[in-house]
């Protein structure tokens, strides 16, 4: 399955948007945290997991989804949120903990819920999978359109929840796709030190579902694999497992010293940064020229900047609002 030109440009635009978002967050996050790094300080306190490098996973999958489809993401959710069409203003405001954020700041960056586009995420490794299966079950039972996609890291594929959810989805033939973003690391632990098989897609056979592998962080490879899997799901043929070889260009979280990386790894990854690669491909395909790219990038940046301004200019809720929305 090949993306058409609109889809190609859409994917590129989302990747650029997501990356700019992450880069801006990176800068903003460090405010107030220098010279001594203290997580509690600055306009964006707390843990921060950036998605730089993993954009192909998000856009290749979400290119096939509409607002009615369900996505459950992980502790590293921004790129997926962007590609799923989550409202940028409310998302960045949430990351800043502001009143205009999705939850008024109660959730934060690991808990972005945008029900209008059926997006949510959770900070506990592996725990996104059950809810995704359940959303798929809900669609099946209600006869409502829409499929569900659960994203997870390759580290999460060693959690019990992975096994249980894949089995359940297969037994009940649910319209759900499980997408592993294999960035080769779970914090400081390398995939090969944690996972008994080199590739998680082989595990699909334990659940009687197709397992697909996408090599080399390839945007269009993701598009093709996800397209087929999502079509299968829409068609009532049940779940699919996809593993995507991707790259984590940043640390696990902001502040990570990354001493555990083999020498040169990061530089190598940066040279294979998927965004310039895809830009190049689009230019070669004649879909983009310098001018168009500059325009597209500029627009994408402006969207992010506008959202950041929105967030910065927003107020905090009164602290007592902490007591609200526990029960509805």
């Amino acid at each position: 399955m090949q993306p058409n030109n609109d889809q190609r440009l859409w994917m590129y635009r989302q990747m650029v948007t997501s990356r700019h978002l992450e880069e801006r967050i990176e800068t903003l996050y460090m405010e107030g945290k220098t010279p001594a790094f203290n997580m509690a300080k600055g306009p964006i306190p707390g843990e921060m997991h950036l998605s730089n490098g993993q954009e192909p996973c998000a856009v290749g999958v979400c290119a096939h989804l509409s607002a009615e489809d369900v996505v459950v993401a992980t502790h590293r959710p921004h790129h997926i949120a962007v590609a799923k069409g989550v409202d940028l203003n409310a998302m960045i405001a949430e990351i800043f903990g502001k009143a205009t954020g999705f939850s008024g700041g109660r959730g934060g960056h690991m808990h972005i819920f945008d029900p209008t586009v059926n997006f949510s995420c959770s900070g506990i490794v592996g725990e996104t999978l059950g809810p995704a299966a359940g959303a798929a079950l809900s669609r099946k039972m209600q006869g409502k359109p829409g499929v569900a996609v659960a994203f997870l890291g390759e580290g999460a594929a060693n959690q019990g929840a992975f096994h249980e959810a894949l089995n359940l989805a297969a037994v009940w033939k649910l319209p759900v796709v499980f997408v592993i973003e294999d960035n080769a690391w779970g914090i400081s632990v390398a995939k090969q030190a944690a996972t008994a098989v080199p590739r998680n897609d082989v595990r699909a056979s334990g659940y009687n579902m197709p397992g697909v592998h996408v090599a080399d962080n390839d945007v269009e490879g993701v598009f093709a694999a996800a397209g087929e899997a999502i079509a299968r799901a829409r068609d009532g043929q049940g779940p699919t497992l996809i593993e995507i070889e991707t790259s984590r260009l940043a640390g696990h979280f902001m502040g990570d010293g990354e001493d555990y990386r083999p020498e040169g790894e990061k530089e190598g990854l940066q040279q294979r940064d998927p965004i310039p690669r895809y830009r190049q491909a689009l230019i070669e395909a004649g879909l983009l020229d310098e001018a168009a790219d500059t325009r597209l990038v500029g627009e994408a940046h402006e969207r992010v900047e506008a959202a950041i301004r929105f967030a910065q200019e927003s107020d905090f809720l009164p602290p007592e609002a902490a007591l609200e929305t526990v029960f509805v």
Binding site: E127, G130, P131, G134, A135, E164, N167
Partner: protein, 343 residues
């Protein structure tokens, strides 16, 4: 044949049947309600509380699951956030350890994390309690464990009337509700049966408000606070104390979250004496919370140091001699009162 000639308003049900009836009534009128869990289908639930549902509603809406609590309780969270109203069963509360994340980090918190825009209207029903020698991994109450963690309502009925009304209220609640039913109250013959739990239960649908305790017996001299099977121990103790000339009030908490501290405090303000009875572990649980709730509110009303009759801080032993010795019962409550009066 007497039962059939009795008026329907005095029809007696077991808690198991009351739960199933409430579920069936809600399923009839709301297509988004469905049931998931291990052996809830043709078997009707190991503890009888889904009996008849599979026959009436079929396998789509009454789903037997794999033994995968993390997946199917997680799935309930996802389905509840997507417009369904799942009722999901954790067969024994003792098994919470394999799936608590789905329960307390997602079911209980997603509404908050979403600022109230994503509701998780689901019921997690689970059996509690011992007394029939099922050993230390199948006999726990864990009331305190669930009540301690924010974001989920927690109810514990002591009789079929409350069970039906609380179940209906739980299903209709837009928040997650943990419905903890004590095995010895289910009216399943094979578990032994506390007869006092099988009470007149209207056939028509009704709710019991979640968060309100009930004064199940009024009295002036002593307040006994309990929940689930403990309420029946208290009623028996109250009877025994009545014969000694003491008039005990019995408060059935019914709901741990929200906790009706007002009713407890009002009762103790009247009687001046408090004994809390809890089959859950002694420390860091319900009994401590109730005593603290009274003490921090009004010390002066207390005529004597409050007491608790709770499960000791030990794993639950299998052997009946030890288990029965360790469980709360009416005699221990009477004893605690005597000790209170002699100090």
């Amino acid at each position: 044949m007497t039962a059939t000639t009795t008026a329907s308003s005095s029809r007696k049900l077991t808690i198991a049947r009351a739960m199933a009836e409430a579920t069936a009534q809600e399923m009839r009128q709301d297509p988004s309600v469905f049931v998931m869990g291990e052996d809830v289908g043709p078997m009707g639930g190991v503890f009888g509380n889904t009996r008849g549902l599979h026959e009436e509603f079929g396998g789509e809406r009454v789903r037997d699951t794999p033994i995968s609590e993390t997946a199917f309780i997680g799935a309930a969270v996802g389905a509840a956030s997507d417009g369904m109203r799942p009722i999901v069963e954790l067969m024994f509360v003792d098994f919470f350890g394999v799936c608590m994340d789905a329960i307390y980090n997602m079911m209980a918190k997603n509404t908050y994390f979403s600022g109230g825009t994503v509701n998780v209207p689901m019921v997690l029903m689970t059996s509690t309690g011992g007394g029939y020698s099922d050993g230390g991994q199948h006999s726990q109450c864990l009331y305190g464990t669930f009540a301690h963690l924010p974001g989920m309502k927690v109810v514990v009925p002591s009789n079929a009337y409350d069970a039906k009304g609380l179940m209906t209220a739980a299903i209709r609640d837009d928040n997650p509700v943990v419905f903890m039913y004590h095995k010895s109250l289910q009216g399943m013959g094979w578990l032994g049966t506390e007869k006092g739990a099988t009470v007149a239960t209207p056939e028509e649908s009704y709710t019991v408000e979640i968060g309100k305790a009930a004064v199940v017996k009024e009295g002036r001299d002593l307040t006994l606070v309990s929940l689930g099977v403990g309420v029946h121990h208290c009623l028996r103790a109250a009877k025994a104390l009545g014969e000694e000339g003491f008039d005990a009030e019995v408060v059935d908490l019914r709901s741990l979250v929200p906790l009706d501290r007002e009713t407890v405090r009002a009762s103790v303000a009247k009687t001046g004496r408090l004994i809390v009875v809890d089959e859950d572990y002694h420390s860091y649980g319900v009994s401590g919370e109730i005593i603290a709730s009274v003490a921090e509110h009004d010390l002066a009303c207390l005529k004597a140091a409050p007491r608790r009759v709770a499960y000791p801080d030990i794993p639950i032993p299998f052997t009946p001699t030890m288990e029965q010795w360790a469980l709360p019962n009416a005699d221990k409550i009477v004893d605690a009162f005597h000790q209170m009066m002699s100090q």
